[in-house]
Symmetry: C2
Subunit: 219 residues, 2 copies
DNA sequence: TAAATCAAGATTGTATGCACTTATGAAAAA
DNA sequence: TTTTTCATAAGTGCATACAATCTTGATTTA
């Protein structure tokens, strides 16, 4: 049960059901999930170790909070690590892995053209995550893969996708497809360069929108 | 108490008192530290989240194990992240921070010349860690700093220092001092390049010794 | 009015007992 | 001899009770 509590809390945090900065009260969670406090406490400790919540001695745990600076740090880290991983993937990815990546990229393309940006936010996020995760896995460095995951698999990043416009989606699709090409040729430098563009372009787009938040319209 | 159990376990793991792969039995630890199983369980969960132990459902936890491949991955990751951090530190470190770094570098130099490699293994390790941590902190990216710490603050790395010979120590001292110089001038590219040399040289030294382990003599 | 005090309630921390799962080693079967 | 079976022991998972700590708001004091 500790396992399911752990997953429920993680889902709750990434869906912002438990808001950033919110105090997690053990009893409430326990009653909500129909278990005792013990597994809840253990799950919270684990999430504390992974950085999802802050553990405050004698005062429980609060959901980790994010600021503008966090966005910058995350993209800075991604701009460093992901290009390197892409480069390694160009050297080590198997044809089967590359095929899967291509399938994912094409799926995202179809999704977008068939339904438009607004309708696919969640599925787009998942597919995009799968694409990047697969590249990280193909690079063959478990540690960097996990570090990257710890850095970017946070609620904050899901949120940034909601700010993506049509132009961002189209650019992203193009870059994914080009990256697949680069991996297929095994050109390390090319793969690295595309991934760097990909991250930095996304960064700029997100930062610009965060600094000049537009009302609701988004074409 | 959970806090002190957590620290005791972490210390126990990094000192290899709990060997890699060892099964952590809750009752033994609880009795050893004079507490009940509850805080032990919570501490173990936290260490699981941080990667110090593996959590096996219904079968407790075992201390994470390391292989040769792990050494390679760790140095690969360090060779990517630390030069970048050093470069950022060249741009952002305050004079006071640089002075502290210089003091640390000189301390390591004195230590080595006064007592020799064998006598200072532990203190050398600590000072070296402090040096690198301070640079990571000066770079101003909390996430990369923590990721790096998660990657390299493992028992395995302490062990690698035991294999350092006189030549390695002298090279290391020289590089630290040169890095301080680079930081003082604010030359990003220089700082980056030195740090890359520093990591790659250490990597080569460690890998070579791991592959051709010599008896005991070490000049 | 503002600051300090303090007591009741809320919340977290720890110990303990029992249920359940996994590991073990001896006895039985092949 | 080797494999299978199975009972016992060991260990983990969870619930509950109580202790310790923190939060609160009302009351007192300056």
């Amino acid at each position: 049960m500790q396992q399911s509590v752990y997953e429920a809390l993680k889902k709750g945090i990434s869906s912002a059901r438990y808001a950033p900065g919110a105090h997690l009260r053990e009893i409430h969670i326990a009653e909500e999930l129909g278990v005792s406090r013990t597994p809840v406490r253990e799950a919270i400790r684990r999430l504390g170790g992974e950085g999802w919540v802050e553990l405050l001695p004698n005062r429980g745990a609060r959901v980790t909070q994010w600021s503008m600076r966090d966005i910058e740090e995350i993209f800075e880290a991604r701009a460093l690590i992901e290009p390197w991983l892409a480069g390694q993937a160009a050297l080590r990815a198997t044809p089967a892995q590359i095929d899967e990546l291509e399938a994912l990229a094409l799926k995202m393309q179809d999704m977008f053209h068939a339904e438009g940006a607004a309708a696919i936010v969640d599925r787009w996020f998942e597919a995009n995550k799968a694409f990047h995760d697969q590249i990280a896995a193909a690079a063959g460095n478990r540690r960097l893969e996990q570090s990257l995951a710890a850095i970017k698999d946070v609620p904050l990043i899901r949120w940034t996708f909601a700010t993506f416009g049509d132009g961002d989606h189209m650019r992203s699709i193009r870059e994914h497809l080009e990256l697949v090409q680069a991996l297929r040729t095994g050109e390390r430098a090319w793969a690295e360069a595309i991934m760097r563009c990909h991250i930095l372009a996304a960064r700029t787009s997100v930062v610009r929108r965060a600094e000049h938040p537009e009302p609701e319209t988004e074409t």
